[in-house]
């Protein structure tokens, strides 16, 4: 799992394409319990990332992650811009201190998750993207170095996104619906799952 610049570029392209492809599903989930713009917002942001793919991939890992973050912040146009943007900006900052992959992957990811939590003033169990990111982080820690790490991360991301369905939202637009938010997968949890799974699939293709 070394991260050659070409590998990074392939991963990033694949992740961006997967998010863009999932836009209709994300919008549909957001129409159920939010303002219905999550798909188009994420699509706009990741199209901008794709547009800068060469420039981003030419950077060292820390600067590349920060560039992704800044691009999302400046283009997404919804709360998910600063939330995902903060994830990548903080992960980039962490990568400048702990650059050894895969050894430091969990620490880098942890910094991103903490930044999302701070930006959204949110924590686990509030029916948000954190309900996927936190279980993924836990799996990155507990399964570090194991042969089936990628499979386990992919599985937990899918399970965790589904587990947001019975939750009652207490953050974001969905919280306005109170009990009526129950029964729907959270769109942010779903987009986090899409991103994590796209990276997993890309890494698997590299092995």
């Amino acid at each position: 799992m070394s991260l050659h610049p070409e590998t990074f570029k392939t991963l990033l392209r694949s992740a961006a394409e997967q998010v863009i492809a999932s836009a209709p599903e994300l919008t549909s989930l957001d129409q159920a319990i939010g303002d219905g713009d999550h798909g188009t917002n994420m699509k706009r942001g990741f199209e901008a990332v794709l547009g800068k793919l060469d420039a981003i991939s030419a950077q060292p890992l820390d600067a590349a992650l920060k560039m992704i973050g800044k691009t999302l912040v400046m283009t997404v146009g919804g709360a998910s811009g600063p939330l995902y943007g903060s994830f990548f900006l903080a992960a980039g900052e962490a990568a400048s201190h702990h650059g050894q992959l895969p050894h430091d992957l969990a620490d880098i990811f942890d910094s991103g998750v903490s930044a999302v939590s701070a930006r959204g003033r949110s924590r686990a169990g509030e029916k948000t993207m954190l309900d996927v990111l936190i279980p993924v982080l836990e799996t990155l820690r507990t399964a570090a170095g194991q042969a089936d790490l990628i499979d386990r991360v992919r599985a937990i991301a899918a399970e965790a996104a589904e587990r947001t369905a019975p939750m009652r939202a207490t953050k974001g637009r969905a919280s306005f619906l109170g009990e009526r938010s129950v029964g729907h997968v959270d769109p942010g949890a779903r987009s986090s799952c899409v991103l994590v799974q796209a990276v997993c699939a890309g890494l698997e293709g590299q092995q």
Binding site: D37, T40, T75, G77, G78, A79
Partner: protein, 130 residues
């Protein structure tokens, strides 16, 4: 450079942002610098960090800038915009926890009297108290 706190209005809707700014100007005329932005970069409903940064800089005052927002994304994007300002400006910008229309009118009226940023924010936020 002006000597009153600047006001920035950030709504998901360009119409609400403009309408709120109109109501503020009716109250304070040109005594206070007011900027507004609303909508995403495709012209739909949403908020946009580059536009918020431009709005803040356009009403820059040595006394600082107070931002009034509507729903969650406007607040999150405004906080992000503040963090992307030049470092020496960041501590002079606040996002007020207040209803956007009433908060903007009250904040601007307070600012017109020459009040500090902290006073302007406190007056706007009285609307959210209790």
């Amino acid at each position: 450079m002006t000597d009153t706190v600047g006001i920035v209005i950030v709504s998901h809707s360009a119409d609400i942002a403009k309408g709120t700014a109109d109501m503020v100007r009716q109250m304070v005329g040109s005594e206070v610098e007011v900027a507004f932005c609303g909508g995403n970069s495709d012209g739909g409903l949403g908020t946009n960090v580059p536009l918020i940064i431009d709005a803040i800089n356009s009403v820059w005052s040595s006394k600082g800038v107070a931002i009034l927002v509507d729903l969650g994304g406007a607040e999150t994007n405004s906080e992000m915009a503040v963090e992307m300002l030049e470092p020496e400006r960041q501590d002079l910008v606040v996002v007020c926890n207040a209803p956007i229309v009433e908060g903007a009118v009250m904040a601007a009226t307070e600012a017109a009297g020459g009040s500090s940023l902290a006073q302007v924010k406190a007056v706007a936020e009285e609307l959210s108290a209790g």
